[in-house]
């Protein structure tokens, strides 16, 4: 434990633990939030956890693997941006129909009766 504390950024374990906490918090947000935007925040947390894992594993494998890991993370970030844009457009569209973005109330496919 003490050696871990002292090696700090030069050991893989802290990154993996932070990533695990991020992923768990993302699941918690996705399961408990009733608001569509809160749900989206949970998804962003989980994507970040995955990206951090890619970079961390790559970093501890040498320069070649570090590049591959970072490319994957770059794609994750770009996809997250695209997903956020589409999700926000959907949230706006849902808001126009239901006047609310509460996931428990948006229960019909078409316009609200």
């Amino acid at each position: 434990m003490n050696s871990l504390l002292l090696s700090g950024p030069e050991s893989l374990l802290p990154y993996l633990l932070v990533s695990a906490c991020l992923f768990a918090a993302g699941i918690l947000a996705c399961t408990t939030r009733r608001n569509a935007v809160g749900y989206l925040m949970g998804i962003e947390l989980m994507l970040n956890a995955a990206a951090l894992d890619f970079v961390a594993y790559g970093r501890f494998r040498g320069l070649e693997a570090a590049g591959h890991g970072q490319v994957f993370s770059l794609f994750v970030i770009v996809l997250a941006a695209a997903e956020a844009a589409v999700a926000l457009a959907l949230v706006y569209s849902v808001y126009r129909t239901f006047r609310d973005v509460d996931l428990d109330r948006t229960t019909t496919l078409g316009s609200k009766r």
Binding site: L5, S7, F23, N35, V37, M41, R59, L90
Partner: protein, 176 residues
């Protein structure tokens, strides 16, 4: 103790605390701001991993772009800090249970890695820390994007165009 450690552990703690309050804060605006703290913290961890380009991208795209989008989205919810943001006891219990299961699974995997690689000790995970990369990885990243990952790179460019058009179509008023 060196300066790196003094920066590293608080950064880890800040990232985790930010993530937890993103999940648990009752006020959605606070949750969005906590998400910003977490994203900036992950960017700091990228700096520690010597992924400078990725850290910069994380700051500009996530903190500068996605977070602002999310804050816009928060403004659509009817009551941001009221009763409707509080999950029921049952849902909260199920959520905590499922996230704990995921956490335990991931932590067990993380702890098992040195053993699986046939190495001993926490310091020597897949392979030991390799000193500083001497040119930084950004140029290497550019090479990879232009050679090995050229097709995914172009595909993602097309995808972004589709997303741009799709988002515009989604927010367009019907009949316009």
């Amino acid at each position: 103790m060196n300066l790196e450690l003094f920066l590293f552990w608080p950064l880890c703690a800040l990232t985790v605390v930010g993530a937890l309050s993103t999940a648990l804060a009752r006020n959605l605006v606070y949750a969005a701001l906590a998400l910003g703290v977490t994203l900036a913290g992950v960017s700091g961890l990228y700096f520690f991993l010597q992924a400078e380009f990725l850290a910069a991208v994380q700051l500009t795209v996530y903190v500068g772009g996605i977070l602002v989008l999310i804050l816009f989205g928060v403004m659509f919810s009817r009551d941001i800090l009221g009763q409707s943001q509080r999950p029921s006891k049952r849902v909260l219990g199920l959520g905590i249970l499922s996230s704990l299961v995921a956490l335990v699974a991931m932590v067990r995997t993380a702890l098992a890695i040195p053993a699986a690689a046939g190495l001993s000790g926490e310091r020597s995970a897949p392979s030991a820390w390799i000193g500083n990369f001497s040119p930084n990885t950004s140029s290497h990243l550019g090479d990879l994007l232009a050679t090995t990952y050229l097709v995914p790179f172009l595909t993602i460019a097309v995808l972004l165009t589709v997303v741009l058009v799709g988002a515009l179509v989604l927010v367009r008023k019907e009949g316009e």
